[in-house]
């Protein structure tokens, strides 16, 4: 029995049909047509204690809905979910003490006052004993480098600073599970790195189970060994990131800088594009060895420079979404 067990969860919403135009808006004021949208259909997975799981999928796939069900905010129409011995939406009060949630697009900090005041309020909300609170706070302040920013009204903080405070606020009660819904959205490279390092660190030190949704594949690359891919409300892939990469990463991007014209017809060359100072190729490395390919070309033309890239994770996901038709 795993730590988190999700079995056949389904959640549908009633959405009012909207038509454009003033006349239609007027009509719908009196009589609305509804349609049922299934945000999540029959989702099952399980997660072990201490895992970091990347939960990915395109917009509207049902990521946030799943997170909300798992964190006890929404009650699903059907299905079971056990975390430890608890069902999130039934044992809400007890359950939420064990979880922390960061919504990247929404703040839980009070806008006009320093973050530290919010922290103090959270201490009472979670009934954290004074001593433990001070200790945890000190630890978080040190690890997230918050010393100079928790006494400034939140509205004056930069997005990166605010996000660090948000994460600290979600961890004051030392939760067992941390849900991160797009934690690096809109952050600059340094802030992203800081947030990622910190997430790795608490996972290692405190054995916090982390469930992460993001559109930033470098987040996933840096943090999650396992991903769950969902689309149109269903689980499409659940397994290691490496395996997925192996399946999709056999496409290599090779850029050859040369002044001469290249004429090549080989099995395994998927794409050839003429560029300003040379050619760009996409090669299937299963069918065609890279060194063989370069060998042939170097005999033909004078090569000035070569650039070889694995197709990056973002492209891989686009291909994956296309293959799965989501």
């Amino acid at each position: 029995m795993s730590y988190i067990e999700v079995n056949h969860i389904t959640k549908s919403f009633k959405v009012a049909k909207k038509k454009s135009g003033l006349k239609e808006a007027f009509k719908s004021f009196f009589k609305r047509d509804y349609k049922i949208v299934e945000a999540v259909k029959d989702i099952s997975f399980s997660i072990e204690k201490g895992e970091i799981v990347g939960y990915i999928g395109p917009n509207g796939a049902g990521k946030s809905t799943t997170i909300k069900i798992l964190s006890g905010i929404l009650t699903p129409n059907s299905g079971k979910c056990k975390v430890g011995k608890m069902t999130p939406w039934l044992d809400r009060k007890e359950y939420v003490r064990k979880i922390g949630v960061v919504f990247g697009q929404r703040s839980q900090l009070w806008w006009d006052i320093p973050a530290e005041d919010t922290f103090d309020l959270l201490k009472d909300i979670y009934d954290i004993p004074e001593e433990r609170y001070l200790k945890t706070k000190e630890e978080l302040v040190e690890k997230l480098n918050l010393k100079d920013i928790i006494n400034v009204p939140v509205r004056q903080l930069s997005l990166g600073q605010r996000m660090r405070c948000e994460i600290a606020a979600s961890l004051l009660h030392e939760p067992d599970i941390l849900f991160l819904d797009e934690p690096t959205i809109g952050l600059d490279a340094i802030s992203k790195q800081l947030v990622r390092d910190f997430i790795k660190r608490i996972n290692k030190e405190k054995k916090t189970t982390i469930i992460l949704t993001t559109h930033d594949m470098s987040d996933i690359d840096a943090l999650a060994k396992r991903i769950i891919l969902i689309g149109k409300g269903q689980v499409l892939y659940d397994g290691s990131l490496q395996k997925l990469k192996n399946n999709y990463a056999n496409k290599k991007y090779i850029k050859v800088n040369t002044k001469d014209a290249i004429n090549i017809k080989m099995k395994g060359v998927l794409k050839k594009v003429k560029e300003k100072d040379g050619y760009a190729f996409i090669i299937d490395s299963k069918q065609l060895n890279i060194s063989d390919f370069l060998n042939v070309i170097s005999k033909q033309v004078q090569i000035e420079d070569v650039e070889i890239d694995n197709e990056n994770l973002d492209n891989m996901i686009v291909n994956l979404y296309e293959d799965l038709k989501i």
Binding site: K68, I73, T75, W110, D112, I113, T118
Partner: protein, 258 residues
Amino acid sequence: MKVYFKSLGLHLKSLLEYKASFITTFLSQILVFFSYYFTILALFTRFDNIKGFTLYEVLLCFGVIQFGFAFNESFARGIDRFDKLIIHGEFDRILLRPKNIILQAAGYDEDFAKVSRLLQAIIVIVIALVNLDIAWSPLKLITLLLMMVAAVIVFFSIFLLAASYCFITVQGLEVTNVFTDGGKHMAQYPIGIFKKGFVWFFTFIIPYAFVNYYPLLYFIGKINNPIYAFSPLLVFLYLIPCILIFYRGIKKYTGAGS
């Protein structure tokens, strides 16, 4: 409760960041209030009484209802503006806290400018009491206090009902305003002066009559049956189904997108 009062303190702290804005809204509330007040005064320059109720009896009624309404607007603003809480997704955050949902929602937003109305309502009640010839007794004092508390409870109940309605649809909230704002305007006068249908409605569907009519009759000595003094207690019973309906609504909650 501790968390509620602490968040009240933080709201005050936030407010102090914008002092000038607070003072102007606080003062503008006085103007709004007195426009209501003068309507009643103007009415009584033409008529001595309305169906047997004198100016100060009506003012007492007005004061009590305004007190209950302003109290909720000041200290339970989050329930009053529950649609905003849902639309902006802040209700999600409330559900993530291991504390009572209704208290959290009430404390989520406070409007201290409305405290201005609260003070004015108390002033009006005092003016009415000074000018009324009340045969004071301990029971009369209890009646008055019960009326004021019941006024707070009745509006809280109705705000809760309106909030529950947000779980079904976040639009069309004007419907509920008919019962809160509209009801408030009617209840400023002793309900008995209206037609029977209204009296029935405001007794059994929304129990304003138990706040400002039946106990008022006892208080000003129109009726001597002490049962009337305790009629505001029925309003407390009214709160129970309102709370239950609210919790039913939460099960239907669908969130507001990502």
